[in-house]
């Protein structure tokens, strides 16, 4: 562990190193993607469009994708396009990828945030209870919940939820972000809940919320198990630490020890994982979005895959990789702010 410098003098350096390393890691990730999608011989654009487009169209697409040039040239072009903000033109969607992402990302973020709002409190509560009552039936139940909740395929849980809440009881809609009967609100943020409130359109906001509940709760329930396990393990670890023992020895009561001492410290690593989870979900909560026809990045990616749109897949995945690396850098910096021990 790095030596602790009081006053956080290491923070500036820490942030700088983080920021400097991010592009390196990103470059590695993008190279990996590039290699993955081209590792086998053959012409993938022709394969994507075979039987659906004329010779000229295929030729034009090959030209546009730069597929006929040497692999080294393609690689340099791929990277330089990204630097200039040109993420490519999907074969099956008229919009350039940048525009596409601007349209889809708010939907994915909305879903992810809602899921987190369910998963985090549930995970912290069950995890803390589980650690506090270690090796009791309560602990066993919480651990079992942690294991079973991630063993459930999210798409299956989603279908069961649709069955109960939409098909058998007409309480909530089965999918999409908004009902077709509601006049759209053209808001500045793209988040329906926020836009609805900004436009003081109560009906729109409420309908958007209704549509969000099932997919959000399903995803939240599935990821909460990870947090239960995480909080439990970290609580147990901190409950064993010297400062907790000494607090006990000083006669501090069980409850203050638990909440004031152990809980706060147990939470720091949990925040990291939450952030990572969040970054990963931004990569498209693919299965959830597919199950609920939620028009986010994950669903679009599946569309591209089904349309065998090689260019679309590559561009969207590139954007996702950039998102993931950026979010994890932000998390690391936040972590450095919270916990001086993380810094150098």
């Amino acid at each position: 562990m790095a030596t602790t410098k009081p006053g956080g003098s290491g923070l500036g350096k820490y942030v700088l190193v983080r920021l400097a390393l991010a592009p390196v890691f990103l470059l590695l990730l993008l190279t990996l993607l590039f290699v993955l999608l081209r590792i086998l011989p053959g012409d993938i654009v022709t394969a994507s469009l075979a039987g659906r487009a004329s010779e000229e169209r295929i030729e034009a697409a090959r030209e546009a994708a730069g597929i006929d040039r040497p692999i080294g040239v393609q690689y340099v072009e791929y990277l330089s396009n990204i630097v200039t903000g040109d993420f490519g033109e999907p074969l099956t969607d008229p919009r350039p990828v940048g525009e596409l992402v601007a349209d889809l990302l708010p939907a994915t973020i909305e879903l992810t945030v809602f899921a987190m709002l369910i998963a985090i409190p549930l995970g912290i509560l069950l995890g803390a209870v589980s650690a506090r009552f270690r090796d009791t039936p309560l602990d066993g139940a919480a651990r079992l919940f942690g294991i079973v909740s991630f063993s459930i395929p999210v798409f299956w849980l989603g279908i069961q939820a649709q069955l109960v809440f939409s098909v058998w009881n007409d309480w909530l809609p089965t999918g999409n972000r908004i009902s077709a009967r509601i006049a759209p609100v053209d808001g500045p943020t793209g988040f329906y809940l926020i836009d609805g409130v900004l436009a003081s359109n109560g009906e729109f906001t409420l309908t958007a919320l209704e549509h969000l509940i099932l997919p959000g709760a399903t995803l939240g329930l599935v990821i909460s198990g990870v947090f239960v396990r995480l909080v439990r393990v970290n609580m147990l670890q901190t409950l064993r630490a010297d400062y907790v023992e000494s607090a006990h020895a000083r006669g501090v009561g069980e409850r203050p020890v638990l909440f004031r001492h152990a809980f706060k410290n147990a939470l720091v690593p949990v925040i990291t994982i939450m952030g990572l989870q969040f970054a990963l979900l931004l990569g498209g909560a693919i299965l959830t979005e597919t199950t609920f026809s939620w028009p986010g990045i994950g669903l679009k990616l599946v569309d591209f895959i089904n349309a065998r749109d090689y260019v679309g897949v590559q561009s969207l995945v590139t954007v996702i990789a950039i998102l993931i690396v950026s979010v994890s850098v932000v998390i690391d910096i936040i972590n450095g702010l919270i916990d001086p021990r993380v810094r150098y």
Partner: protein
């Protein structure tokens, strides 16, 4: 770790015929192997027993699927009319066929699908594919990840640094997304080359996802083992690098593999189900749980609950069984890591290398939720 000391004391204290000594030696080995199990707390043992029971049940179903399942995966009439060669029912009118979308009954305990297939049979036959994917993908991941980890850790230097970076990049990527991409690229290529093997892209992509984990765990373990005196001794006796790595280092790092294996197996079943659900598993009418759930999506919205319900239950049960076993084994084999958690440790050290998070990374099955996303 090394069982040799115990073995020798047992044998030398009781000079006997070669047969007895061999028997005693074997017993001592077993005793030694079982020691962690005896010492483990009962909770961990229950986890393993419960998990193993569930897993064995499914393994049994997978092995004897053809005998146990009342129907074939694409059979839509009674056996006497069915021709397994071409999957057709000859000379049978609609009335003699399996009913369409029949609810669960004594004749069809899990109901039937809109294509007149028996859901129970497809659930049972689906176990075959789940185990096939687990076997293939973990073997694939181990065959690449373990030797790479051994050599990377043993040789060290620039090779090691590059390998660690590449593996970190793979690991940083959401596993389901990675699997989808590989299945997509590989599927397109195979099709282009005129190769018809629908199972291969899915299995390879699921396997690739786990390479970094084996690499990580084996490499880290190798780093500590290679400093041990017996490795130094072997080196000074002039053993070759390959033989040191495979004879001395390998057998001392294999203990990390069973835990990783069971947890990856659980993950692999889920990832395969996800790929199947998205249409990247096998081709209809092959019985695969994820595919069956996706085929039943429309049924479910129409209120026919049973077609989507049962394959999902099967996935959940098998994954739960494998995870319980993995958790329990982890508690037993790595009591020290129980608090740290090897997964968290793997991730932590991966990130340490990237100088991203220091060594306070916690435990936790972080990659799990990706499969669930």
């Amino acid at each position: 770790m090394a069982g040799s000391t115990e073995v020798s004391t047992t044998t030398t204290s009781q000079p006997a015929t070669a047969d007895i000594s061999r028997w005693r030696r074997a017993r001592a080995r077993i005793e030694h192997g079982l020691r962690p199990w005896r010492r483990a707390n009962p909770g961990a043992r229950y986890l393993v027993i419960a998990g193993a029971a569930i897993t064995l049940l499914f393994a049994f179903l997978a092995v004897f699927a053809d005998t146990v399942a009342p129907f074939g995966e694409d059979q839509y009439c009674a056996d006497e009319f069915f021709n397994p060669e071409n999957g057709a029912c000859i000379g049978v009118g609609p009335d003699e066929q399996v009913p369409n979308r029949a609810p669960p009954s004594t004749e069809y305990p899990f109901g039937t699908t809109d294509t007149r297939f028996d859901v129970l049979s497809r659930v049972i036959l689906g176990a075959r594919l789940a185990f096939a994917v687990v076997a293939f993908s973990t073997a694939f991941a181990m065959l690449i990840g373990v030797p790479l980890g051994l050599f990377s850790g043993y040789i060290g230097g620039r090779f090691d640094r590059v390998m660690v970076l590449v593996m970190d990049a793979i690991y940083a990527f959401p596993s389901l997304l990675l699997a989808i991409m590989i299945a997509f690229a590989l599927g397109l290529r195979l099709e282009q080359l005129g190769i018809d093997a629908p199972f291969v892209p899915a299995a390879v992509s699921v396997g690739t996802v786990y390479i970094p984990q084996y690499f990580r765990v084996i490499r880290n373990h190798t780093l500590s083992v290679k400093e041990e005196p017996y490795v130094e001794a072997a080196k000074s006796l002039g053993a070759s690098r390959t033989s040191i790595v495979f004879r001395y280092v390998f057998f001392n790092v294999v203990s990390s593999i069973p835990v990783l294996f069971t947890l990856n197996a659980a993950d692999a079943v889920l990832t395969m189900a996800g790929l199947g659900f998205l249409g990247y598993g096998v081709r209809f009418p092959t019985a695969e749980w994820g595919l069956d759930v996706s085929l039943a999506l429309a049924d479910s919205v129409a209120g026919f609950w049973w077609t989507a319900f049962w394959p999902g239950v099967a996935i959940t049960l098998l994954v739960t069984g494998l995870s319980l076993m993995g958790e329990g084994l982890n508690d037993i084999i790595n009591p020290l890591l129980r608090v740290k958690g090897y997964r968290g440790k793997a991730k932590a050290s991966a990130r340490e290398t990237m100088k991203l998070a220091g060594d306070r990374e916690p435990a936790g099955a972080t990659s799990r939720a990706e499969a669930g996303a």
